[in-house]
């Protein structure tokens, strides 16, 4: 039983860390599948975290227990709109997509901190009063072993994230919309010839990534961080980007990669309590996700094929 107990503890905290990564990575999949590199996932998460926290602080007396969910929705909408900046620059103005993404990261942090100073007159916001709470799933949590591991003490957002991954898979691979989105990322000219609006599809792809990045950021902020400061989102966006690539640009792959990275992150935190990991310096746990991503890219863990025209601006009429 000892092992199961430890395992369920690690799993529990891994899922908490993985949930925001799953959302954001799924967003990344949509954007990159449509052919737009999104280094700005970090910035989109920052925006989501900022909006989620501010909305929560402002309206928690109005909405009561529903506040985190509504704040989450607000973060989704604002981040989707914010991602339009990246879309406009990299699709319409043919900016270098990586550079534009880097600028998104600067801009989100700048705006977030500027407004925090402006509205709260200090470097970070107060702690929110209505965070997400973990809960047990009724009925299912009575199943022996599995019930304890998967259905007690989890956050509803985690189930949402996993469901969202399957939904994303369905949308991308089983609907005409998904086919169009993918075709725009593979061969935009062929798609254009077939009457698909390349620019429109790419805008949609980037905006979905904005929405999901905002979702991820707000969930992280309202589950783990509980306030907004310059250090609230610290690399989670880049880890999500790694999950996109590690998962080979596939929603379910991204889901698996995000859970794996969640594991790695939680291991670095809980490893001190676990007998056989006690002696491993935490630095190895901390760098594991990044080292593994590099190894994966180098082809040691199966070659990752990016969408064909990823990173290239589509110029109508160019051959």
């Amino acid at each position: 039983m000892e092992f199961l107990e430890v395992f369920s503890r690690i799993l529990g905290s891994a899922v908490i860390f993985a949930t925001p990564l799953i959302f954001t990575a799924l967003g990344g999949v949509f954007s990159e599948r449509s052919g737009v590199i999104n280094i700005g996932l970090e910035g989109l998460m920052i925006m989501g975290a900022f909006v989620g926290i501010v909305f929560n602080l402002t309206f928690h007396t109005v909405f009561g227990a529903a506040t985190p969910w509504i704040s989450m929705l607000a973060a989704v909408i604002v981040s989707a709109l914010f991602s339009l900046v990246h879309a406009a620059a990299s699709i319409t103005f043919r900016a270098d997509q990586v550079v534009s993404g880097v600028a998104i990261n600067f801009l989100a942090l700048g705006i977030g901190l500027f407004l925090t100073k402006q509205w709260y007159d200090k470097g970070q916001t107060d702690f929110i009063k209505q965070p997400f709470y973990s809960s047990d799933v009724p009925v299912l949590n009575n199943i022996p072993i599995v019930g304890e591991m998967l259905f007690s003490g989890w956050y509803w957002t985690s189930y949402l994230a996993i469901a969202m991954a399957f939904a994303a898979w369905f949308v991308l691979y089983k609907t005409p919309f998904g086919l169009r989105l993918r075709s725009v990322g593979e061969h935009p000219m062929a798609a254009d010839t077939n009457g698909i609006h390349v620019y429109r599809m790419r805008y949609i792809g980037v905006m979905i990534s904005g929405a999901l990045g905002g979702l991820g950021g707000s969930v992280y902020a309202m589950t783990v961080a509980l306030n907004f400061s310059h250090g609230t989102i610290l690399g989670q966006g880049f880890i999500s980007l790694a999950a996109v690539i590690f998962g080979k640009w596939h929603p379910l792959g991204a889901l698996g990669a995000a859970i794996f990275f969640g594991f790695a992150q939680s291991l670095s935190i809980v490893s001190s309590d676990i007998a056989f990991l006690e002696d491993v310096p935490s630095v190895f746990m901390l760098i594991a996700p990044y080292v593994l991503t590099i190894l994966a890219l180098a082809g040691f863990i199966g070659r990752a094929e990016a969408p064909k025209s990823l990173g290239e601006a589509y110029i109508k009429g160019n051959r």
């Binding site: 600028a103 600067f106 700048g110 310059h230 890219l297």
Partner: protein, 348 residues
């Protein structure tokens, strides 16, 4: 009316103007007086010799990180890993600085060289992966940034100290600090590193424009296939570019380690020297002169901004927004070019 060359100069200038105008608009929207805001910024950067010293201090690493990004970009590589290369350079320089007792003529150059080598090694890995396996350097360098951050922290905590949050101060023989410069500027943290930064700008110009290797590096940046056809070893050039770029970045770290701080502490996040270097390089159009000018601009903005809350009540972070917008405008040069060419047509 607008030649190509002129447009290339106009784009960064217009981007800066647009960025500043946007900053002014934001100040207006939030009820500040933009003139007060910019006046405070100007005073914060040049108001007295202390501020001026601090501005130069800030410009120094920016020049080097800008050169790092620009050098790689000239070979067609986007080195987002400057941040991590700065970290390892900083760590290496401090490591040498605290663990040896040598005369200054040996110690200081040794510490600086170590930083350059550390940065170069950190740049070598993504370069090698790109050259041999075709792995995209952007993702690898991002990952290397985090590895550098956590490894440096671990080294400081467990190798250089006994669980402390910062290393001891480096020996005076490894320091770039300058008594008379500091005295002249009311004890700002200005240091001799500035000379190194300028020298490196000259080195970059020389390598790229006056040597065969530089010609090859630029050729690979323009067209890999053509370079390959002309008998150049594309892979080796990619690795060389990343190694030199990493060395510049490592030196930027040495500026912080040997000049500004004289120690290294545990960091919870990035210093942003590397990320700001991307902005510097882009604005400087990837040329040595451009990078130096752009580094000055961003150094002035960053240091000047610190004075904005006290004198004009404007939050410092406004400058981050302005810098982000400047990058957007430079990156979206297609838009500016399009507008300029429209004017040109109508002018006829």
């Amino acid at each position: 009316m607008f030649s190509n060359r002129m447009i290339n100069i106009l784009i960064p200038v217009l981007s800066v103007i647009l960025g500043l105008v946007a900053g002014a608009v934001i100040m207006l929207v939030f009820g500040y007086n933009p003139l007060d805001g910019f006046a405070a910024l100007w005073k914060g950067a040049f108001g007295d010799s202390y501020f001026f010293g601090e501005t130069i201090r800030q410009v120094t690493p920016y020049i080097l990180s800008g050169l790092a990004v620009a050098f790689a970009l000239r070979s067609g590589l986007l080195n987002i890993g400057v941040e991590g290369q700065v970290f390892v350079g900083w760590l290496a320089s401090v490591w040498i600085g605290i663990s040896f007792e040598l005369p200054m003529v040996v110690h200081l150059p040794l510490a600086i060289t170590a930083a350059a080598f550390a940065g170069a090694a950190w740049g070598f890995i993504p370069g090698l992966l790109k050259a041999k396996l075709g792995v995209h350097e952007v993702i690898v360098t991002i990952m290397m940034n985090y590895i550098a951050l956590y490894v440096s922290n671990a080294v400081i905590r467990s190798l250089l100290t006994d669980g402390a949050d910062r290393t001891e101060n480096i020996a005076a023989t490894a320091s770039l600090k300058s008594e008379w410069l500091a005295e002249m500027t009311f004890y700002s943290r200005i240091h001799y590193g500035f000379i190194i930064a300028i020298a490196m700008a000259v080195v970059m110009w020389f390598i790229l424009n006056r040597t065969t290797k530089g010609f090859e590096l630029r050729a690979v940046g323009f067209n890999q296939h053509a370079s390959n056809y002309a008998g150049m070893n594309v892979g080796r050039n990619i690795i060389t570019a990343m190694v030199i770029s990493g060395a510049f970045a490592g030196l930027a770290g040495a500026m912080e380690g040997l000049g500004t701080f004289g120690f290294m502490s545990i960091k919870s996040g990035f210093t942003n020297i590397g990320f700001d270097g991307i902005a510097v390089a882009l604005l400087g159009a990837n040329t040595a002169v451009g990078v130096v000018l752009a580094a000055f601009l961003f150094g002035i903005l960053k240091i000047g901004a610190l004075n904005m809350p006290t004198e004009a009540g404007v939050p410092t972070e406004l400058v981050e927004i302005i810098i982000a917008l400047i990058i957007f405008f430079v990156a979206s040069s297609y838009m500016i070019r399009w507008v300029l060419l429209r004017f040109k047509k109508e002018g006829k």
